[in-house]
Each structure stands twice: as structure tokens, then as C-alpha cells.
Symmetry: C2
Subunit: 412 residues, 2 copies
DNA sequence: AAACTTTTTGTGAAAATCCCCAAAAAGTTA
DNA sequence: TAACTTTTTGGGGATTTTCACAAAAAGTTT
């Protein structure tokens, strides 16, 4: 056993920075300590040799996202999450990463953080690896304390978020005070995102989500909460000229990463519009949920829609459906076409829908319907005759489109 | 005075037909008697010489509409409505009308009907004209009786119509019984039309309307009623393959004739959708009124719309306006464009609206905006960038169109 | 089966739209 | 004022779309 050997890390230490310096002196290389989310906890200072990746990490107090992405792709982080042994990482010059060795810090079967040792002048020996393992073991309690403190704070933030979502906090001043007391800087503009999973979110998945949120830097996540099969985020929408596409991109990327890295599949992302007034968070939450509802009703039509603003007319569907039901209205053109379809078993309605779906583009629609473009043109002529439709009138066409979709949902 | 002269029409007569024969014998030419609405009341039979127009009149029990139209255009009817003297009408071969003389039958300053004398073998002399005047005088009381009887029936029909419009008759059986007792054959399909005038309808105008309704044969009017500044019609929608355009045409024609013939201007016609179930008359009435409301709010946009079905998305506007108000939603793209317009005093919103109004036709919209087509193309590129709009997505465009119109109405 | 209507597909020329480039005009910033 | 960005306009060629016509195919009626 190694217990008999000399262990320099048994000595007491006050701060993590002190400890990092200690390891650095023993192993004769720069040391960085991160938490499980790759946020910088401490780094050795008595040695000036370093590489760009480490500089960025120290400056930003977190590992840059592109480095994390690379370490995932290339297998280092997955390996660190599996084994308690040190892992050697080859130099990756494109992201400014020199040779280094990493080890994960464990508490039972949970990873609390990582220690990085840069191999700038010398490569670490097997003995050094053992020392690194000892260091990881020695530092774990310190990390545990930090984590507990953080967990408590996280609990408080989650509670705060829920209050916002459920309209239990309305005065802007009160909301700002809460933000301040949690040391969160509220963004000027925000949006609420909701990710729906096919099943309730497990603890393990929650950890994965939390990890991803902490390591993702593209969009700043102010708050998050988990509710059964939903992940709810409060995302900052500043810094961008066009936040909606940015948030869309983020949502897709986030869902893709959850799949790639943690095998969490079939995530449906949704996002509210952009708001400035924090007392409207609950409304934003409603919007995101409205997106999810519509997406479940019109999966094909809204496949690429994430943002409430981009729902277009589907925003109005619950309302319109109700109106149509109450007044038992029937679109005369559609009725005529339906009758014709029945009688001659043709498919003018389908044809019309495709044509409208493809923004009046005859070629695209013809391709979609697997017919010759001229066939489609002929059918459209017939449709305009039978349904008394003027295809130059956007107003008429919109109503047709809307009624087509409504009828579809009504199951006619 | 002519009182001293021989008047063959002083003798008593039982039926109008008998009287027509009597005139015919005196004047030695075929005679037709019509009411004020050009419905056939009586015709002489002992003489077989006639012309196509008279044959059609007798067969259809009314003067054919094209003959009436021609007599209006050419001035005969206006003249008959002004003078008590006989009027000579030249032959009009295109409508099968031979030479004839007509005289109106007056009761005080109201025209009750007309007597027509065909000049087939001989032209009428001045003496004959005097005889004709005597005949017109002699027949007026008989016509008055008929009219009173008709007026009573008309009152009953109006009352029936009001009951239908105000939901006071709901059972189909009951409705059918009423129709039957009024000797009106209900059509299979019907629509309710409402014509709005800028002022309350005067008695004189009501007469003109009634006259037009009786003489118009293109669309069968089952019932009509007048309410302050509205004329309400129950129009039959059978016989046509596409009733909506037919009813539209009729409405325009009807309004135009009221203007042409009686100088009644600024009539706004509106029409409900087509219904089969007579218990839904009140709903049809609501629809026609909805058209009028929308037309007053969006006069330009709905200039050419008469039928509720053709209102398109404007059908939904009251509902949508309410929704938008409640949720204080703002279309992000429009907001961005508005901001840009304000900042650079450009007119991207106007540009977008025009483009959408003209069904995405760059040339038409450019003409409308008085700019070069390439300018418009450039602006659209900018609009899609600034507003994050994909002009290939019909859904997005519809929402823009709708929100543009809603904002317009909200007066932003 | 023959005659007929409706629908589909193909072809090719005319028309239109799209797209790139460039210059001028207008507006902004240094 | 100069440099710069944004917007407008124009030309002109490549590409698409539109349209008319015709033949074939499919479906209906007699």
C-alpha cells in the first residue's frame, strides 16, 4: 500500500490557493484546481511558466467553452468522469493547450472537481502520478465544503426562480433585491426557456444538466429549475443584436449536447419572447409552455420553431379553434374542395395545403407532392375555380391556410 | 274638358283581364297591364299579334329584367314616373320590343302601374292617347285594391323576417309553416345581405328599393326589411354553382342601380355566408353586420369584400385585437423595424406592409411605393436582417401581416 | 366499346424574376 | 472636409416562372 510512503499533503492548509502552490512545489509544475463544472477554484502562482489555455482559464475564472468542448470530443473529460487515475492529455495547439496531466477529485462516486498539472519542462513520472492521487484525496473535503455552501445557494436560487415563475414576486424592487442577495447580476433582457423531456428528470440527468449549464458560456443562464420532465431556464438576452436566433441556436445546441454527452434524447426545446420587465417572467414561462403545447399538436408544422415569437399564427390557434367551434363556421372554399375531393377522389385539399406550405412555390410543392409542376398548376387552376379562390389575394390565402390547419386539428 | 266626350271605360268590369280586353278592343291593339314593379297584372287575349318582349312578359308573369334595364337606360321608365301622359317607345329589336305606347297609372302622386299598348298594325292617334288616359284613370282603383292587399302581405312578411333575424323563430317546422302561409317558396340555400346607407332610409327610398327588388331577377329575394339606415335582404342562393360571387355581383349591381336610378349614394353592401338551415338566419345577419363593422375599420383593405367568407383574416380581428391587448404582446420583428424606422427615419414597416399587401410581388409593391424594384429588393433584404424574417416562411409572413394590421388599428 | 371529359405530363418560347455589379446619392462619423 | 456607411437606382445576363399547346393517360358516360 501507499499509506506507508511519505505523503506531503497530509499537512493542514488554509486555502485552496495555498494547497495548489503546495502541489506545484512538490511536482515542479503549474497547478490548477477546478470544480466539477470547470470553474476555477485555485491556481499555483510561484511558477510563471504556463500556456494560453491556462491563462484564459485564470482570466475568465473558468475553463473556456471551446476547451471544454474539445476535451469532451477528444475523450479526456469522459475518461476523468470514469476513473480515479490521472489522465495524460496531449498538447492541442489549436486551442492553446500544452501537455498536461489531469485527475478527478472524488467523493464516493461523485466527481467534485479536477486538478490539472501542466507538463511544461518535465513529464510527470509514475511516482508523481501517485502524489497527484494523494493530492486529489487530500483536497476532497475542502471541495465538499465549498459544494455544500454552493448547494445551499443553489437551493435558494431555485426557490427564487419558482417564486418568479409562479407570480409570487411581483414588485420589481423586491425582485432586484433577491437577485442582489444571491449575487446574480440580472440581465437587461431575458427569456425563459423550457426543455421538455419524454420522462421525469432523474438526479443523474439533473447533474448532467447542471454541469452543462455551468460550462456553457454562449448564453448566460441566470436561473434554472427542474420540474418533473421540464428544465426551465432564465436566459440573459443581452449582448446580441438579434437575441432570438441566438437563443434558438443555444437551445438546439444545448439539447444536442445533452444527447451527445449524456445520452439524454428526445428533448423538445421551447423559448419565450424577449422581455425586459422581470415581473413578466411568469408570462414568459407561459409562452414557452404554449410553444410546447403547439409543438405537440402540430409537430411537423412547428418542427423548427423554438421561440414563441416564431410560432406565427400558431400562437393564435387555441383561440381560433375555440372561435370556430363556437360559431360552427365552415370555410366555403375548403368545403367545396372537400366535396370535390370526396366525389372524384382527388386531393385538391392536400394540393392546396402543400402549395401554401411551400410559400406558393409551384416547383417545391410539386416536388413535395410527387407530381409534375404543370399538374400542380392545373390543379391550382381548378382549385381557384372550384373554391372561388384568388391566389393573388394574400388575405384569402391566409384564411385558407389557417382554416386548413384548424380543420386538420379538428380532425375533419 | 274631356268629361263630355264618350268614355268607353266608365262601364263596370270584374277582372283586370276583362278590362285589358276592353281597351284592346277600343284601341285595336294588344294591351298589357303591369303593376309598379313591372309584374304582369293582366293582358288582352283576343288579338294574337304580339312581339317577343310581350311573350316573355306573359310567360314569366313579369317584364324581363333586361327589358326593364333598357327602358331605364333609354329614358322611358323615368319619363313614365314623371308624367301622366302616354309615352311612345320606339322599337328596340335587340330586346325584342316592337313599337308601343305606355302610360302610367297614378293615384295622387304615386305610380301604381302601367298600361302598354303595342302598335303593331297601326299607330295610335291623339284620340287614342286620350282614351288611354281615361283607361289609366279608370283602372286605378282596381290597382289600389290589389296594392292594399299586397301591402298587408308585405307587412306580414316583414314581421316574419324580423322574427327570424331576432331569433324569435327557431324550430325549422315553424319557419317552414310561415313561409308557406306567406306563399313564399324557401330556397335550399340562402344568405343574408345588409346594405348600409349613410343616413336613415326615407319612405321614398324605401319605395325605390322595393321597386328594384321586385324588378331584379338575377337573384331571388325571399324577404326584405328596412331598419334605420340598413336594408336587409334574405337572398336565395340556389341555381348557382358558386353562389358567393353571384351574390357579390348582385350586391354591387343593386347598389349601383340604386345610385343610377334613384341617386341613392354611398351604399355599403355586405353579405353573410351561405346557409341551408333557416334557423341560422340570425347568425347570417350577424355575419353581414360583422362585415360592415370590419369595413368601417379597414375601409381600404376590405374595399372589394362583400361576403363574410371573403373577409379572410379580418373575420378574426375583433378576437385577435382583444387577445393582443390582454397579453400586451409585441411582435419582435415589427418592434425592431419600428425602432429602425424611428432611428434612421426610414420606412421599412410601410415597405413591408406594401410588399405583403401585394402578395410578395416586388414589382407591384415597388410601383405602389414609388421606388425602384431593386430598392425594394434591397429594403427587403434589410428587413429580413433587422427583423429576423424569413420571407420564404408563410407562417411568419402571415403573423407579420396580421400584426401589422392590428397595430395599424391600435394606432401605434 | 365508343365518345367524352378530366387529369397528367411534356415541350418550348415568352415573360418575369432574380441576382450581381457598379455608380450615384444620401446620410454619418471623424 | 474627407472617409465611410447606407441607400437608391440602373443595366443586363442568368435563371425561373409562366403560359399555351398538345398528346397521352385515366376516368365517366352512353
Amino acid at each position: 500500500m501507499e499509506g506507508n510512503r511519505y505523503d506531503p499533503f497530509k499537512a493542514a492548509f488554509d486555502s485552496l490557493d495555498e494547497f495548489a502552490d503546495m502541489i506545484s512545489q512538490v511536482l515542479k509544475c503549474p497547478i490548477t484546481i477546478e470544480d466539477a463544472n470547470h470553474r476555477l477554484l485555485a491556481y499555483s502562482t510561484h511558477d510563471e511558466r504556463t500556456d494560453p489555455a491556462r491563462i484564459s482559464t485564470i482570466i475568465g475564472r473558468r475553463v473556456p467553452e471551446k476547451v471544454i468542448n474539445q476535451l469532451w470530443k477528444e475523450g479526456t473529460i469522459p475518461a476523468l468522469l470514469k476513473t480515479k487515475e490521472p489522465i495524460r492529455v496531449k498538447s492541442m495547439e489549436d486551442i492553446g493547450l500544452g501537455h498536461r496531466v489531469a485527475i478527478s477529485i472524488w467523493k464516493q462516486d461523485e466527481v467534485l472537481g479536477f486538478i490539472w498539472a501542466l507538463e511544461i519542462d518535465r513529464s510527470l513520472t509514475n511516482d508523481d502520478f501517485t502524489l497527484l492521487k494523494n493530492a486529489a484525496d487530500a483536497v476532497k473535503n475542502k471541495l465538499l465544503q465549498l459544494q455544500t455552501r454552493k448547494n445551499k445557494k443553489e437551493e435558494r436560487t431555485q426557490e427564487f426562480f419558482w417564486k418568479l415563475l409562479t407570480r409570487h414576486l411581483n414588485s420589481p424592487r423586491e425582485i432586484m433585491e433577491h437577485f442582489h442577495s444571491l449575487q446574480i447580476t440580472p440581465a437587461k433582457f431575458f427569456a425563459v426557456q423550457v426543455y421538455k423531456l419524454p420522462h421525469n428528470i432523474t438526479n443523474k440527468e439533473e447533474q448532467a444538466i447542471s454541469y452543462l449549464l455551468k460550462t456553457t458560456q454562449r448564453v448566460k443562464i441566470l436561473l434554472y429549475a427542474i420540474d418533473c420532465n421540464q428544465l426551465i431556464l432564465l436566459a440573459a438576452a443581452d449582448y446580441f443584436d438579434n437575441p432570438i436566433p441566438e437563443l434558438d441556436y443555444f437551445a438546439k445546441m444545448f439539447a444536442a449536447k445533452l444527447d451527445d454527452r449524456f445520452g439524454i434524447k428526445e428533448i423538445t426545446p421551447a423559448c419565450s419572447g424577449i422581455y425586459e420587465d422581470y415581473s413578466k417572467i411568469s408570462k414568459a414561462y407561459d409562452e414557452a409552455n404554449a410553444v410546447l403545447t403547439v409543438k405537440s399538436k402540430f409537430p411537423k408544422e412547428t418542427k423548427n420553431i423554438i421561440n414563441y415569437q416564431k410560432l406565427g399564427i400558431y400562437q393564435l390557434f387555441d383561440l381560433l379553434l375555440e372561435k370556430r367551434r363556437n360559431e360552427e363556421y365552415e370555410n366555403y372554399s375548403l368545403k367545396k374542395l372537400h366535396e370535390y375531393d370526396q366525389k372524384h377522389n382527388s386531393n385538391l385539399l392536400e394540393t392546396l395545403e402543400s402549395f401554401l406550405n411551400f410559400d406558393d412555390n409551384i416547383n417545391d410543392a410539386a416536388k413535395d407532392l410527387n407530381v409534375h409542376a404543370n399538374t400542380l398548376a392545373y390543379r391550382l387552376k381548378r382549385i381557384s375555380e372550384i373554391g372561388d379562390i384568388n391566389f393573388k389575394d394574400p388575405n384569402q390565402k391566409m384564411m385558407l391556410y389557417i382554416d386548413l390547419k384548424l380543420n386538420k386539428y379538428k380532425g375533419i
